[in-house]
Symmetry: C2
Subunit: 188 residues, 2 copies
Amino acid sequence: MDDKFRNHIESIISLTDEEYVIVSSYFKTKSFKKHQFMVTVGEPAFYNYYLVSGLTKLVYTDASAKEHIIAFAMEDWWECDYQAYFSQIKATLSLECLEDTEVLCITLSNYHELCNALPKMERFFLEKLKGGFLASQGRILSLLKTGVQERYEQLINEQSDLLQRVSKTQIAAYLGVSREALSRLSPK
Amino acid sequence: MDDKFRNHIESIISLTDEEYVIVSSYFKTKSFKKHQFMVTVGEPAFYNYYLVSGLTKLVYTDASAKEHIIAFAMEDWWECDYQAYFSQIKATLSLECLEDTEVLCITLSNYHELCNALPKMERFFLEKLKGGFLASQGRILSLLKTGVQERYEQLINEQSDLLQRVSKTQIAAYLGVSREALSRLSPK
DNA sequence: CGCGCGATTGAGTAATTTCAAATCTAGTGG
DNA sequence: CCACTAGATTTGAAATTACTCAATCGCGCG
């Protein structure tokens, strides 16, 4: 049933059947419907989520109710308000489903216990964190390079799958421009 | 001599004297003068640097020779073109000294060997990566919240030390606005 | 058919960039 | 102590870009 998850982990470290059973035991399965919130602003972020399927957006809603999308997450990605999760404080970001979504999730204390029980999982999480860090730095760079046009084209090239699953309003909130400005760019 | 470095590590994991000797043996000391490059675009990023003292900027220079500052790094920070370092490809970012800088540095292969020799160092690096990831996500958010004014005020509050050591031209390149626009903001 | 949502278009306004010139500051040598 | 220079900062003004608010278009669904 969770072959996908096992493959995901084994792309970084190898596991025996017994070890995989141990790993699995620390996770819980959940499902969410489109428009449901996996993390809600003002509430604790109990879980770190591995997306088995579906699509979510990690959002900051500012004082004037405008949404800013920090990241999309889909199949095989991990997502969460990590600031809130790791510090066990209330979430300032929301994680909302844009499609029906299946996840495996783990609490922070289970995460620590799992790393104790199976230290090599620490290497796995380190690699994931590394990936997240590099992706974030790349995004900072693309936001600084100012050219909205360029950012949009880069998105078209590198994440064309996203464009088919997400409204342009969401894309605009991700690129950091108004939906009208996005609409006036290059050949659709 | 390296008490500072030891304290830095021991703020996350504890080390015996012998262990600290092992750790140290994987690092090399270097010093750079103001305006020297610790990482140069087009060359491999051989080292990950721990800054003992000094100040550096991590920069992307775009096609029109405009500089975009991804991050500043100072005492007790780690910095490097991580994309290039971890993938062992040529750097697309430069790391330049804004002041004379003393570092401890480690190659990628030494990093791997160190983690094998002393697995708990993996937890240390994981924590550092976590810090970098959270900082990057915070920066993405502050770039999306658009208000340049707000970004500048946030910088004044949270990094007032930086303002005294860095020119406004650099600050502007970090905030993502022209130096003229920055100059026209709030009461200096 | 008509409703509702997303995308587009239009027009006026606000913010930012660009280029140029003026000002300021710190360090140097007379 | 003063003049001089180089670099950084500020100011000015025009041009560009993006935002906001409003209206319209397009399409799927009940």
